[in-house]
């Protein structure tokens, strides 16, 4: 019987880019016949993108559409690697599933305009009908070196631009990607093109479904506070006071004196659900602190929050086994409705890698454990996770978004 959705995942850590591409692609296509419908391709910035493409195409053919981009690292059923030469390939053979790849270049000049362009394309592709049979994956280049020095392309204006065209979102997951922690220029793959400064999207429509669970790893720790003054991503005032003074009172003055080490432990969580109801992880959108504006007494967030936003300080969960519980629950819920998981795609914040958050174990290992080789798994370490929070598309920080594609279990 021909399967509606077949997937194979292969990885490589070869130093030679072409060899790495061919090796990962060969592993992904091993045991399958014919050219894949589409190939997901991810790689760290240590690999040469052109040579890597050549290597992959030597296996999957010259015309098979590619979708993906640079990332900080790769996760598969048996690999967790980052900051090296990791390459991850997922080959998908789809029957009864339409694939549409979209691109919008020029994000480095105006995130909102890029979002507007991509949103318009998505609206045209999705149409006005129901979106139950539609899944969306999208990525955008976060590294902006248009002005020479590094700045990060923000997700919020991109999403706002897309929101202008999309009244409703399908099942969707996206990521802000970068190829390393040195913010070297990145590349994206879309169809047969190798792009930069782009947002790319893959729409799947048909028998396959994408199911998503958000794994913050953070819980609210403080009372609610209100942002009272902002300048872009810099929160200047909280509760009417200098943001750094407020934070100094909250966490101690020494934190501000050595904020280089502490800043990533400060996360603002915005509850999009009932503020007085029980904690629902999927209702929270977290924004991580990435620096301190000492001159203006501001706290710099990875993504901007509007003045008037009510938030809580969030506490991280340092026992990453919770990801296993989330992943198992997601898989169980899929099987409970008579569907069969066929491919896992994990978008994971690079800061959650053990080497960076100071953990004893890799949180992604618990996702591997939950999947338990029942279906192919490809994951990427990236710099910001995007998915629906309480039906609003949000960029999340310090989060893992675990997506599982399923087909009807006939």
């Amino acid at each position: 019987m021909k399967h509606a959705f077949a997937a194979g995942v292969g990885t490589s850590e070869a130093v030679d880019a072409e060899a790495a591409g061919s090796e990962a692609a060969a592993r992904a296509t091993e045991g399958h016949e014919g050219e894949p419908t589409v190939v997901l391709l991810f790689s760290t910035a240590r690999q040469n993108a052109e040579k890597l493409t050549q290597g992959v195409r030597s296996v999957v053919g010259a015309s098979t559409p590619l979708f993906g981009g640079y990332c900080n690292g790769v996760i598969s059923n048996d690999l967790i690697g980052y900051d090296g030469f990791q390459v991850g390939v997922a080959a998908l053979w789809l029957d009864g599933v339409e694939v549409e790849l979209l691109k919008q270049e020029g994000i480095a000049f105006n995130e909102a305009a890029a979002g507007d362009g991509l949103g318009a394309q998505l609206a045209a592709t999705l149409g006005d009908g129901p979106l139950d049979d539609t899944s969306l994956l999208f990525l955008y280049d976060s590294v902006n070196r248009v002005k020479g020095r590094f700045t990060m392309n923000l997700a919020t204006p991109l999403i706002q631009g897309m929101n202008a065209h999309l009244e409703h979102w399908p099942a969707a997951a996206g990521a802000r990607v970068m190829g390393d922690m040195k913010f070297n220029p990145t590349h994206q793959w879309c169809g047969t093109e190798l792009l930069q400064d782009s947002a790319v999207a893959m729409v799947l429509r048909g028998d396959a479904r994408m199911h998503t669970t958000v794994m913050h790893g953070c819980r609210p720790a403080s009372a609610y506070h209100r942002i009272t003054k902002v300048d872009g991503p810099v929160v200047l005032e909280v509760d009417g006071r200098s943001a750094t003074e407020w934070l100094g009172d909250m966490l101690g003055a020494e934190l501000l004196n050595s904020h280089e080490q502490y800043k990533f432990f400060v996360t603002f969580g915005v509850n999009h659900g009932d503020p007085w109801g029980p904690f629902v992880e999927d209702h929270y959108a977290n924004k991580m602190c990435v620096g301190v504006d000492s001159e203006r007494g501001g706290v710099i967030l990875a993504e901007p929050l509007d003045a008037g936003t009510v938030f809580q300080l969030m506490r991280r969960n340092f026992e990453p086994v919770y990801t296993r519980d989330h992943a198992v629950a997601l898989i169980d819920s899929i099987e409970a409705v008579g569907r069969r998981p066929v491919f896992g795609f994990y978008l994971n914040c690079a800061g959650r890698a053990a080497a960076y958050y100071g953990g004893d174990e890799e949180e992604a290992a618990h996702v591997q454990d939950a999947v338990d080789r029942r279906f192919p798994l490809l994951g990427v370490y990236e710099a910001g996770e995007i998915t629906r929070v309480n039906d609003e598309m949000q960029l999340l920080d310090w989060t893992g978004i675990f997506n599982v594609f399923s087909v009807e279990d006939r």
């Binding site: 720790a221 009372a223 934190l255 506490r315 100071g358």
Partner: protein, 465 residues
């Protein structure tokens, strides 16, 4: 009621904020401490990885060890660039870039053409270098930064037996928590541990090299020794062959002058015991007219003729199982029955005399045809007891003594030209095989008389054999 609720709300808000402060600070400190601990374990991870991937024998190729080490450092410590400097000339402070990872081709090409002086002054009196945002760069640090494209780095010496033979350097382009924490003293310790491993590998390489050289020398020495042994063996074989040939010659010479049994005895014991023989036939022969001929013939011609005759006699003596004793001038003396006694010595001796006469007759006929002078002989034969042996230590000869010898000599001198004059004791032993003419008792000396016979010839040719 509202005031009370508001107070409670403020209480719980403050309570929550205090808890948040405590937990977030604690979590952060715990995480930072874990990271510091992780940094301290980096060396163990690198060394453990190297132990797994580098076998002891691999240190034979130290370059490969350096390259694997750099790769492991990059995989575990996540640095941007690493360099191994090795001394340009042994014992100097001048070093060159020998191995690197992460350098661009352009920087690598430039670096490989440069020499770097790691003097105590350049290093600021410290054996290691730690360069981060907090340290003030020296002129040497700036030189390294500019020429090798290294910004923040740690550099430690590679030592062997107290001597610095290289440096290990790793650099990062950025300092940014938590991804690129600044290099600190923990990293110096980490790299010092890795440097210790490399130094051990270097020492092992030297040991292997020394061992290999020693083995090669030993093999070369063995080959030389084998050649020498072979040459010496060949020399010895040649000498042994020469010796053997000399021994053969010597034995042949000895056998020429001594009976075989006597020669064997003499060679074995250094002497030959004199032995008594009860019955031996002794023959004296003498050329008739030799003195007269020697006065008229050319001396050389005379000796040549004598040599010719006596060689023929030697042959006759040999094939009749007789023992030649000696020649005295023109006299030829031999005997039968010595040194190995037998029963045929009288017949053997008489037969030899007959053959000698026949030879002389043929010789004489030939010489007369050529107009030359030739000789006739007298033979005296007597059978009786003798003592035989070798006397003296130089120019020794096997000889016999006793009255039998004297009687035989008298029989020769008392004979006639061309006749074989035998005593009765000999006659008694040959009478069945030879005709003889009795001469009666003939006085030889001191009124001693001997019954004599002239041998006329065999009863029938070959009858005595």
């Amino acid at each position: 009621m509202a005031d009370d609720l508001e107070a409670r709300a403020r209480y719980y808000e403050q309570f929550a904020d205090d808890a948040a402060s405590y937990f977030i600070r604690t979590d952060a400190e715990l995480s930072i401490n874990r990271r510091a601990l992780a940094e301290k374990t980096l060396a163990f991870k690198v060394l453990s990885n190297l132990q797994d991937t580098i076998a002891i024998g691999d240190t034979d190729e130290i370059g490969r060890v350096y390259e694997r080490t750099l790769k492991r450092i990059h995989e575990v410590v996540h640095v941007d660039r690493s360099i191994v400097f090795l001394e340009n000339t042994a014992g100097s402070n001048i070093f060159k870039v020998a191995h690197h990872l992460g350098l661009t081709e352009q920087v690598a090409a430039r670096a490989s053409a440069m020499l770097f002086e790691f003097s105590e002054q350049q290093l600021g009196g410290r054996p290691t270098m730690l360069v981060n945002r907090q340290t003030r760069p020296t002129a040497f640090v700036e030189l390294l930064q500019q020429t090798l494209s290294v910004r923040f780095f740690v550099c430690v010496p590679l030592r062997s037996e107290g001597r610095v033979f290289g440096y290990l350097l790793s650099s990062n382009d950025k300092e940014a928590y938590p991804f690129y924490p600044p290099f600190n003293e923990t990293h110096v310790e980490t790299y010092s541990a890795i440097a210790g491993f490399l130094a051990t590998a270097y020492d092992n390489m030297n040991l292997y090299q020394n061992l290999r050289e020693a083995t090669a020398k030993l093999e070369e020495y063995n080959l030389t020794l084998e050649d020498r042994v072979k040459e010496r063996t060949e020399d010895l074989a040649a000498i042994a062959e020469e010796l053997r040939e000399e021994v053969v010659k010597s034995e042949e010479l000895l056998l020429n002058i001594l009976p075989r049994q006597t020669a064997i005895e003499l060679r074995r014991t250094g002497q030959a015991m004199a032995r008594s023989f009860d019955s031996v036939t002794v023959v004296f022969s003498d050329i008739v007219g030799f003195s007269k001929a020697s006065a008229t013939m050319d001396a050389a011609e005379l000796v040549a003729e004598l040599d010719q005759i006596f060689r023929a006699f030697d042959h006759i003596v040999d094939h009749n199982d007789l023992e030649k004793l000696k020649t005295i001038g023109d006299s030829y003396m031999f005997a039968g029955g010595i040194p190995v006694p037998n029963d045929t010595h009288a017949l053997d001796a008489v037969r030899a005399c007959v053959e000698m006469q026949e030879y002389l007759a043929e010789r004489r006929a030939e010489m007369e045809r050529r107009g030359k002078t030739s000789f006739q002989m007298r033979f005296g034969v007597h059978t009786g007891p003798v003592v035989a042996g070798v006397v003296g230590s130089r120019k020794f000869a096997y000889d016999i003594w006793g009255n039998t010898v004297n009687v035989a000599a008298f029989l020769e001198s008392g004979g006639e030209t061309g006749r074989i004059n035998v005593s009765d004791s000999t006659y008694e032993l040959i009478r069945d095989d030879y005709h003889a003419t009795a001469r009666g008792r003939v006085k030889i000396k001191h009124d001693m008389e001997v019954e004599m016979y002239f041998v006329d010839g065999p009863v029938s040719p070959g009858a005595d054999r």
